[in-house]
Amino acid sequence: MNLRPHHFLLWAAFIALMFAMPQFVGNGTLRTMIFACYLAIFAISWDILSGRTGYISFGHPFLVGIGAYTTAILTRRYGFPVEASIPLAVLFTMIGGLIVLLPALRIKGSYFALVTLAVMELMYQLVPVVRPDLTGGTRGISRLPALTRGAENGYYLAAGLMLAIALFAWLLMRTRLGTALWAIGMNEESVRGSGLSTTRLKSFAFLVSAAIAGLGGAFYAHYLGTITPRAFFDINVLFQIIVAVLIGGAGTILGPIIGAFFMVFMLEWLRPFLPGQERFFVYGLIALLLYMYQPKGIMAIIDSGWAKLRGART
């Protein structure tokens, strides 16, 4: 595992900082941060599969959506308590993802991206049509039971969930399993050549990624209180998740979190200057330029800046 004392110190400082936030900022900012936390969870989930193994998933909103819809249907239509519906949502996301996307792991590159994109679009078209009495059709499901009240508690929940998931992902990636996933991204043939079952590894990455997406999706649905097909199975949701990972830095744990906060807050800060649609135009443009400038994201920019600073000092 190769854990060092300073790792624990850094994590403790990070967790303390996140939990101290409500003391310094107002409720409006907290609500923005809640959204950033959930986006970070989805981004971490995407990164575990796509950022590590290089299999680009264009269908992640599909997994998030299954989690959200499962808990919504169970609580609203069948009267399940939240304590039971959220674990079930995670389970359903894993099963759903497994059935639909596991065959897709046999194919590579752009084809994998395409199958996942098709699955997401299929879901968007099916959800309003199949059993509208359960899914609520295009209008979705509203009045989901809330888990917490007030911005502050909502923030503690979202930030706690995000930190727990980030810590879990960080520990997982430090095991030999994490290294093997990395290696698949580098060269799949040679991983298979060294006697590891790449299919098993990829399925594992997929399951972990699906479980995190389902967990995040379920909590997010309860936070929002209302879900609709367009709010989940949409290419714009996909865009936000992928951009958060790439801007932050794929293949790192902190990267997706930084990316999610950066993108969400940039959108907020642009609001006073550009109230309308211009905001999304500028937002997309900044994302594209940043990506073209450094495809490895903010983490790489910080790293190289840090290296330069240290180089200058010695």
Partner: protein, 283 residues
């Protein structure tokens, strides 16, 4: 019955046209150009702007759309694809970002509400009991003309054959004296122009809206993947399979299920036969 056949033929012609431009780029670079939908959208809007808001003749509007599409294709190759050195993942993601940027640019310029395009040629004709507007008929005839011209160009001219060579083996083509860079640029420009032309017809078939780019991209992806990379005939055949599939589902089942079978077809074919029904083996 006649209604289904005629509508199926009309829709399939349109889909074939849209898929052609996408197929060219996919076969030459193996990259999913998600911004292809942006050409379709921009084509439709440029036509709308020139012919309906400024009041230019429709031909000018159409040509303007094609030229803008071609320029977009060129710019994209110069500014995004070349600097990324053709890394497929990076190109896919940057095209996704670009498509979303174009979407918000369209909202910025034309507003959020969807717009109806006036028929390119007004009037209705009845063919054996089926009502067909001249507009859609013209769109289908035009797409067939464009497809046949493209086929002749790719098969018959030196540049077209060079495009095929580059799509099969970039290095081999370079050794035989073809400049892959120049061919790439030509292909991107043609693809952009085709996308914009398809966009004008597609917009007149449905309507103009800032989110109209998603559906055609997925349909062209489906057609190209199922048809097989680099096969014009495969693209044509599968465009008809998907066009008829959609019309039949709408006619005998439910309009909401329109896209469902298309998606199932893509997923099924990709998993069973990743090289497509009519494509060549990839090594």
């Amino acid at each position: 019955m006649m209604q289904i056949i005629i509508q199926g033929l009309l829709l399939s012609g349109l889909y074939a046209l849209i898929a052609m431009g996408f197929m060219l780029i996919f076969s030459i670079g193996r990259t999913l150009n998600l911004a292809y939908g942006a050409y379709i959208m921009v084509g439709g809007y440029i036509y709308f702007w020139l012919s309906q808001q400024i009041g230019m003749p429709k031909v000018v509007g159409f040509l303007g759309a094609v030229v803008v599409g071609a320029i977009m294709g060129l710019l994209k190759h110069r500014l995004i694809v070349k600097p990324l050195k053709g890394d497929p993942v990076a190109v896919e993601i940057s095209t996704l970002i670009l498509a979303v940027i174009m979407q918000s640019a369209v909202v910025l310029l034309f507003g959020d509400a969807s717009k109806i395009l006036l028929p390119i040629i007004p009037g209705v004709v009845t063919i054996s009991g089926a009502q067909v507007t001249y507009n859609i008929l013209a769109a289908t005839v035009m797409s067939w003309v464009i497809i046949l011209a493209l086929y002749a160009f790719i098969r018959g001219t030196h540049t077209g054959r060079a495009m095929q060579a580059v799509s099969m083996d970039q290095k081999g083509a370079a050794i035989s004296g073809v400049d892959p860079d120049r061919i790439n640029m030509i292909t991107w420009a043609i693809s952009g122009g085709l996308g914009a032309a398809g966009g004008v017809f597609f917009a007149s078939y449905t309507q103009l809206s800032p989110t109209m780019w998603v559906a055609p991209v997925i349909i062209s992806v489906a057609i190209v993947i199922v048809g097989g990379i680099g096969s014009i005939i495969g693209t044509l055949i599968v465009a008809h399979i998907i066009g008829f599939l959609e019309i039949i589902v709408v006619a005998v089942w439910a309009p909401e299920l329109r896209g469902v079978f298309t998606m199932l077809l893509i997923i099924g074919v990709l998993i069973m036969r990743p090289q497509g029904l009519f494509g060549r083996e990839e090594h």
